[in-house]
């Protein structure tokens, strides 16, 4: 999928400023991809460039979608307390018990954006589950956009990003400062892998996972796509593994084969035995 050009970015910068009074700094160009590729998918155009063409034509519904997407704030660390409570209290202890013999755990953050979700999980595991020190952890993050995946892979964050919900104890333990940026510790980054992946297209062969996080992605898809994506997610979860969705998302009425389990103030979906 093509990404935004510098000219597209300038147009969007002016457009967003006129609509929302928010100034997008040049270094925020990566946000254009992060935020607009889901809009590209949802509205059925082919690329960000086409989205900009639609804006120039004055397409009202696309204008609203773009403003909404571009004015959302940075991704937070440990975003939403409930899913992380669910991981801490139910999911990790359960998977640790299930996999005690194999001593491996595989986690996939399927819409990882710039990596905060996956790195938060890496910090949580390191800080609270020291028994996993000798396990093989496969932490995979994927996203639609090349620039976003590259940023996630770099593990470098601005102070604006680092401020978003990251406890100070984790900041000093897991990050070092390099100039104006904070860089995640190698000990955590070496456990992670970030790759390009479009959930809405046919999935390439991949290993199965114990936990899949796919939060706030399905909302962008129509019902047949949601069903296809959920079926594929089920097929790539080990029996007894967990799928985590956004608060407004569910498997109910879309696919079979999951049991809804209340945990940590949210609902998680457990793959039923084959």
């Amino acid at each position: 999928m093509t990404t935004a050009t510098a000219e597209d970015f300038e147009y969007l910068q002016r457009f967003i400023f006129e609509r929302s009074a928010i100034v997008l700094a040049e270094e925020k160009q990566y946000l254009v991809d992060t935020r607009l590729l889901p809009v590209v998918q949802r509205t059925g155009v082919d690329s960000v460039a086409d989205l900009v063409k639609a804006l120039r034509r004055g397409d009202r519904s696309i204008e609203t979608a773009v403003v909404d997407a571009m004015t959302t704030n940075e991704t937070s660390w440990f975003r939403d307390a409930a899913p992380f409570e669910a991981l801490r209290r139910l999911i990790f202890p359960d998977v640790i018990a299930q996999n005690a013999m194999r001593r491996r755990m595989s986690i996939w953050s399927a819409a990882c954006s710039t990596g905060q979700e996956l790195y938060s999980i890496a910090m949580l595991l390191d800080a609270e589950f020291p028994e996993l020190g000798s396990w093989k952890l496969d932490l995979l993050g994927t996203d639609l956009s090349t620039s976003v995946v590259e940023r996630a892979r770099s593990g470098r964050f601005s102070s604006l990003e680092i401020n978003r919900g990251l406890p100070a104890s984790h900041l000093v333990k897991y990050f070092t400062r390099e100039g104006a940026h904070f860089v995640i510790a190698d000990q955590l980054r070496s456990k992670t892998k970030f790759e390009l992946f479009n959930l809405a297209r046919p999935w390439p062969p991949m290993a199965d996972h114990d936990i899949i996080l796919m939060r706030n992605v399905l909302i962008y898809f129509d019902i047949p796509t949601k069903q296809r994506v959920l079926e594929a997610a089920r097929a790539h979860l080990r029996p007894g593994g967990f799928l985590m969705l956004g608060t407004a998302e569910t498997t109910r009425g879309l696919v079979d084969g999951f049991t809804a389990v209340p945990a940590g103030g949210t609902t998680v979906y457990r793959r039923e035995e084959a």
């Binding site: 704030n73 102070s159 401020n163 904070f182």
Partner: protein, 136 residues
């Protein structure tokens, strides 16, 4: 809830006050340095929260944290550094001295809400929008 904002920049104090007020914290007191802050706290009632800048004339933020943590009756006060100071070693010093959280300037209003929530202060962010915390 009572909050103390300590910063030598009047603009920054006013911005933090504005964010706190939007979160429903109406009892906000301000000090331009550590010495004034200690006097205000001594004058009581003890604030539940202190937002403390690092670089200030007279008494800096780190020394202020040390002072505030000396007195048993002030121990319940949550202290968050709000500063441009982001050297790793200094952040560790502030936390060891008794600061509970650390917010690096510039920041957004949402970041303040999230940090306060880490301190167990779950304030209603309904009115907080895109306010930029500035870069001072």
């Amino acid at each position: 809830m009572r909050a103390l904002v300590v910063d030598d920049s009047r603009a920054m104090r006013s911005l933090l006050r504005q964010i706190l007020v939007k979160l429903g914290v109406t009892d906000v007191i301000e000090a331009e340095d550590g010495v004034v802050a200690v006097k205000l706290v001594e004058g009581g009632p003890t604030p539940d929260l202190a937002l403390v800048d690092w670089h200030m004339p007279v008494m800096n933020g780190l020394d202020l944290v040390v002072e505030l943590r000396k007195r048993k009756e002030w121990r319940h006060m949550a202290i968050m550094m709000v500063t441009t100071e982001s050297e790793h070693e200094n952040m560790v010093r502030a936390l060891l001295a008794g600061a509970n959280e650390y917010l690096i300037k510039p920041f957004t209003a949402d970041a303040v809400v999230e940090k306060l929530s880490l301190l167990g202060l779950h304030l209603e962010p309904a009115q907080v929008g895109e306010t930029d915390g500035g870069a001072s």
